[in-house]
Symmetry: C2
Subunit: 168 residues, 2 copies
């Protein structure tokens, strides 16, 4: 038995601010007009923090299989040396499960529902579940750090801290 | 009158090698299995070169309007201080028009047709046309360099060097 249940909240810039940035094109007034007027540039949408300890930026594609139902959060991870950006490529919504940096506080875990045109950038150290496709196989473009050092911490939640996610 | 006509060639890793990398998920055998078996990571798909002259990585979304028809290449640009990655987000094919680094040689311009699940990374200095959406408004995730210095060179083609693109 998992300890509690949570329903996803909508992913908004303000609600996600303690954990990172939402990559989205909502702020058209701030976009730059370039390329002889043919392109709107929604510029610099996230704080990429990829250069610590001789780190370098890395671009990859993650192909993620949905977890079995019922969806239970048992494991959280964080990257102490760099940020990590996910942008969905398959036109599907997905879940974002996060907790603040520092020692993992299971009661601070939050669950967001991201739309197919929202990416996320986790700040360095933000706890998160690995990519959570919903319903079907989904690809994500990922920007993260590569380089020396251990950039992965994982914590398995005690049974009473596990979270069953209930979709509304 | 433009000087000549070209039809796009299919975008392949080998044909594009002089200009950069194609970001795609064709090589499943090379993908890493991560996240308790739930994710395939197609790792490190392009050589990102973003740190020259105090440069930093930057992530943006470009929203591109197709050029008017007939599609004529009149202008080429390059970024002497860094690579530039485009990944399509709107499920549409698009055109990639490139020429080798160094002084622009208009007779070396090549035209590729990229599929909706192919991104491109232009090596530092590769000449290219700005993003060329086809048919409809298209978004691209872009990874490029921000920082001091002039990172944009543009060349307007002489009339006899202009290229009219003919879709097969």
């Amino acid at each position: 038995m998992s300890g509690k249940t949570l329903s996803p909240k909508p992913l908004t810039q303000s609600a996600f601010a303690p954990f990172g940035h939402v990559l989205e094109t909502t702020d058209k007034d701030a976009a730059l007009v370039i390329n002889e007027g043919h392109t709107l540039r929604f510029d610099n949408l996230a704080d990429l923090d990829l250069l610590n300890d001789q780190g370098e930026p890395c671009v990859s594609i993650f192909r993620s299989t949905p977890l079995a139902s019922p969806l239970i959060i048992r494991l959280m991870e964080c990257h102490p040396l760099g940020s990590q950006t996910f942008y969905p490529l398959s036109g599907n919504p997905y879940l974002v499960v996060v907790a603040p940096p520092g020692e993992l506080q299971p009661d601070k875990i939050q669950v967001f529902l991201a739309s197919p045109n929202q990416g996320v950038n986790y700040h360095t150290g933000t706890w998160h579940h690995y990519s959570l496709a919903l319903d079907r196989l989904s690809d994500f473009l990922v920007i993260d750090r590569r380089g020396p050092g251990n950039n992965l911490q994982e914590v398995t939640l005690a049974e009473e801290d596990q979270i069953r996610i209930v979709m509304d």
